[in-house]
Every structure is written in structure tokens, then in C-alpha cells.
Symmetry: C2
Subunit: 345 residues, 2 copies
């Protein structure tokens, strides 16, 4: 009824000092057992909740971490978020989600929240370091920031990532093992480092098997559904179209398969497709998508573990932490068709 319960209300009713109440409520300090229980019972009876702002102001820590993603609308991030959340709450931290929409201004804004007391540390899944006045500032070594999933080259900040190059190569090798020789790649936006790594993995695997990459076999996409369709269209307008596609993410792979269906090209009978990410709905897709699974929950959990270390003054890992991926073979890949396919509309 009468507004909110404060520490002094409890203190007053019990005839003790506010300081004693504060101590009795905290875990650390030593308060005489009878007092301690009386305080706790009263606090519970009055439904007392400490004011976070007062506490944070005093202790200079917010007990919150910031999780900044590029696009909260991308289902891909969801499990990472869960991994972070689970660890965070276990350690008593709240998780604040930030959504940059790839906008430099907003990235900066979240970065500032570290300084204005909103959060104590941050996990970045954006592939960019915030800029100050247009130029990237070198992060102080002790700033509690962890990069997850993405890679920021040259940043002296702990990284949790996967071996994108190796995983891509493995995916391509799967196609090669199946007997494919004409394998094309639909990449993500090339300025982005993850796209480059996956592209490199593709080239590496092709080179290792002495397979040529004909002109036009490297299509550049945007990671979005429709760009998979477009890239696929370009690929199959080629005089000598591929028999297999390694696509840099699942979403574009769905788009590509869709396009193939429109052209009455059968997957996997005529053309095999491998994706990357292992999205939840990949299973329900037809055909079920062969793809590279990323350990998303673990990436989130590991990143939070490291952040927690940073927050308690421990040093982060000197080397990037690499988590293992797994090629999930489902129904979108098969050996190439026996007879040589010729150009047909």
C-alpha cells in the first residue's frame, strides 16, 4: 500500500540500524544469528526488494551484462542468447539485449552503456568494434568485452568462435567424397570475415582435390533468403552449371533449393546442396537440409564464462576459443547424376 518497502522500514520496525539490515540481507557479513533471521523474516513479510539503482550507485556495479547482436530478428542468434542467459542468471547477472541493425550509431550507443553504469560487461556478436567519433578505438585490455561467433581481427579481446574455414572445407569435402566435381559456392557478403573464411574453406577443399573453380562458380550473396535464389539463378544460367552447391548459410540454401525447384531441378537427385548453421526448421524443410551445425548454446555459454572471469578480474584466454562444428548429413546431398547433364533451360 504505502509505497515501497525500504531498508529503513525494516530497520525501524525491528529497532535496529539500516546498516544491520543491509548486512543481514547480504551473504557475506557476519550478523548475530537471531538478528539475522529476524531481519530476513521481516524483509520477506514486507516483501522487500532492494532498489537496484541505489545499490548500483553505491557498489559501482550493475550486475548486468549486455548482449549485442546485429539483428535480433535472426533466429540464428536465439540459442546463443539462451546459452548466455543460463550462465548469466546462475551468476546473478541480468542480461540486457542490444540490437544494432548494423548501424554504427547504435553499436556505439550500446558500448556507451558500459560506461554509464547500465552494464558491467558485454558480449558482442556483431563483427565490429564500436567506433568513437568515426574511428575504431583500441579497447583497453581490461575492458570486459568478449566477441562471440564473429571474429574481429587484430582486437585484443577474447574470442569464442568456430573454425569457419575448416567447417566449410569439411562440407565441401563431403560433396567431393560423394563424387561431385563441379561444385559451386554461394558466399555471404564478402566484406564480412565469416564469409571470407567460408569462401577460403571452399577454395581450400577444391584445391586439395585438384578441382577447378570455373568462372562464375563463386556467387556472392547477402545471407538472406532471396539472395540465395538469385545466386542460384545465376549459377544455373551458366553454360556448365554445377552438380553441387555449398551455400554459406541455411537461409540462402533454402532460397537456392526453392529456385532449383522452380527450374524443376531435383535436389538431391540432380543437384546436391549443403548449408551452414543448422537452423531449427532445416529438418522440416524438403528435402531435409544437409548442413554444418554450430554449437550455438555452447558458444553463448562459453562467452559468458569468459566474461564472468573478466568481471572477477581474471584474465581471459590469450588464444581464441574454438568450438567444434559438426556436419549433419540429411537429405539434400547425394552422389551426382550418372549421365552428364547438359545445358537445358
Amino acid at each position: 500500500m504505502s509505497g515501497k518497502t525500504r531498508i529503513k522500514d525494516i530497520a525501524f520496525r525491528l529497532g535496529v540500524s539500516p546498516a544491520t539490515v543491509s548486512r543481514a540481507l547480504g551473504d557475506t557479513d557476519i550478523v548475530a544469528e537471531p538478528t539475522r533471521t529476524r531481519v530476513r523474516e521481516m524483509a520477506r513479510a514486507l516483501d522487500y526488494r532492494p532498489d537496484v539503482n541505489a545499490r548500483s550507485l553505491r557498489t559501482r556495479k550493475s550486475m548486468a551484462v549486455l548482449l549485442v547482436v546485429r539483428d535480433i530478428g535472426n533466429p540464428f542468434y536465439l540459442e546463443i542468447v539462451k546459452g548466455v542467459e543460463a550462465k548469466a542468471r546462475a551468476a546473478g547477472y541480468a542480461v540486457l539485449m542490444g540490437n544494432t541493425e548494423n548501424d554504427a550509431g547504435r553499436e556505439n550507443e550500446y558500448f556507451n552503456m558500459l560506461r554509464d553504469g547500465h552494464a558491467d560487461g558485454m558480449i558482442l556478436i556483431t563483427g565490429k568494434l564500436p567506433k568513437q567519433r568515426g574511428r575504431t578505438v583500441p579497447l583497453p585490455d581490461d575492458l570486459p568485452v568478449v566477441i562471440a561467433l564473429e571474429v574481429i581481427e587484430g582486437a585484443a579481446v577474447p574470442h569464442v568462435q568456430i573454425d569457419n574455414r575448416g567447417a566449410a572445407a569439411e562440407a565441401v569435402r563431403h560433396l567431393i567424397d560423394l563424387g561431385h566435381r563441379r561444385i559451386a559456392h554461394i558466399s555471404g557478403p564478402v566484406p564480412e570475415i565469416l564469409s571470407r573464411y567460408r569462401l577460403e574453406g571452399y577454395r581450400q577443399a577444391m584445391a586439395a582435390a585438384d578441382l577447378p573453380i570455373p568462372p562464375g562458380y563463386e556467387q556472392r550473396g547477402t545471407f538472406l533468403l532471396h539472395s540465395g535464389e538469385e545466386a542460384c539463378e545465376a549459377l544455373f544460367d551458366l553454360p556448365d552449371p554445377p552438380t553441387a552447391l555449398f551455400v554459406a548459410n541455411d537461409e540462402m540454401a533454402f532460397g537456392a533449393i526453392n529456385q532449383l525447384r522452380k527450374r524443376r531441378v531435383r535436389v538431391p537427385n540432380d543437384v546436391s546442396v549443403v548449408g551452414f548453421d543448422d537452423l531449427y526448421l532445416g529438418e522440416a524443410f524438403f528435402p531435409p537440409l544437409t548442413t554444418v551445425n554450430q554449437p550455438r548454446t555452447e558458444i553463448g555459454a562459453k562467452a559468458m564464462d569468459i566474461l564472468l572471469d573478466l568481471l572477477t578480474g581474471e584474465a581471459g584466454p590469450a588464444e581464441p576459443v574454438i568450438l567444434p562444428t559438426r556436419l549433419v548429413v540429411r537429405g539434400s546431398t547425394a552422389p551426382p547424376p550418372k549421365k552428364k547433364r547438359t545445358k537445358e533451360s
Copy 2:
């Protein structure tokens, strides 16, 4: 270098009082123009950021709102989040995301964040009011809470929702108009009110067309992919299986179509399927899913608008706000097959 810049640093360098700095930085107050600019320039030069905790402690408002969803892992919520976010940031509010996992304890926890100063108001997308000590507490009328998407019956709290019953009926009517007579329904978990509304819409449309609902034609699912498969299995083990399915959400519809494919039942040639939600990937699915589109961004935006009103002391709408849905006809629905299908494994 020397820790963080505070108001008094600026004041000291400029030879003015902290109060003047505070006023000069705020929009409202009147400060002599020269002072005002000098303060602002100095603040910018020192890269000053006001401490949110101190400010919140003093002003008793956090300028943050809480957005609580049932499962952050569900892509369905994403656009709602965006709608909320856009409005919130335009009004200077930060959005804190809460994730309940359907856990009563966690729902409560977020609710408490309203009282401990974390946030000033909240948008609930959980279908449940938080409980205190096991029982639902009636929310004070003036508590800044808005329910979006879900419905909590009997709660005197502003609602932003869609007409689930009407939208479901429209979907079923589409099937009826196509010529279907044997139409089954896969519902969500029935304790949930949204599932009930959609179920009612189905029954209503069937009744209005004088169509019977044979035993077994109402299957209960969980809104999850595999439950769509299972329900579909049960349906097509029936002696007289349906020629059309109205499924309470897209995810289960994907599962159902998958199951149908395994049984070599063609969609939409043999059986038509309508979903509900219009998930992003529904387009890429094969066949492209006919479904009910919910105006998700608008739901989020409208909910935030109302919350903003509540936060400024205005009254919320007395009646629930109903936003229009739209039946999106794509490729998963068609007239029923001409010849009567007989039972076949």
C-alpha cells in the same frame, strides 16, 4: 584516463555549479545561452556520460521498459520485439528483454524488476500474469503493464491483440470455399487461450457451413514442429481422413506437411493445409504455406504506444485493441481431389 567524467568535473573546469551543468544538459530548463553552449561543448570534449544509476535513483525512473516473452527462441516474437524497440527508442526508453521459459518463478522475477527500479513499465507476451506467492495478484489499475498478442481474461490491463477466433474462421472458410468438406484441425495446447480461440473459430466456421466434425478431427498439439507430425499421423490413420487441415500455427503446419510427404500424400493436390502466423520461412517452404498473417510489428508498436501513454499518466484504452489479420493464400491450398479418396496406407 582518470576514471570517468562526472558532472562536477565539468562544473569545476567551467567555474560553474554542478546544478547549472545538470540544467544545461537537460532539455527543459532555461540556462543562459553562452553558459549552455560552454557546458555542452565541455561535456562533449570530456566525453561525458551521465551515470544512469544516479539519475534513476534521483528521478525515480529508469527510462527502461521490460518486454517479457515466453520463449525468446521462438522466431515468432522477433518482429514484435522490433516494433516495441522502434517506438521505445524514439521515446528515449531502453528495452530490456525478459525470457520466462514458461517458468512461474521467472515470470515473477521480471515482475519484480518493475518494483526494484529496473524498469518503469512492462509489456507481457506470456499469457500469464505474474503470481505472488503462488496466487495471482490483481494488478493495481495504474500499474504500467500492457498485454500484447496474448489474452489474459479478466485482467484489467490494456490488451493489444488480434481476433483469433475470426482469423481462424476465415482460414477455415477459405478451405470451405475451395470445396473442402472434410476439414480437420490441429490445435495448440488447449489450456492456452489462443488455442481455444482458434479452435472455436474452426468450430464456428464448420457449424456455419453445416459441416460435421467427425470424431478424431480435432487433434491437440503443442505448437511445436514434431507435434504437427504426430497429430497429422493420427489424422491420417483415421478410417476417413480429411482433405484439408487447419493448423493452429505454422510450425506445426510444417511438421504436418512433412508427415504428409512421408506418406506420399501430395499437398495441395491431395490435401490442403492452412497455417497460422506467417513465419518468415513459410515462403521458402514447399509448397509455400497458405497462412494467417499477424501484424507483428504493429502489435509491438501499438503495445509500446499504449505503455508510453500509461507512463505519462494517461489512461490506457478501455477496450482491447484488435489489429487486423490477413489470410495469405499461397501454394498449400487447392480444391479437394475430384475422386473420393479411400483409405490407403
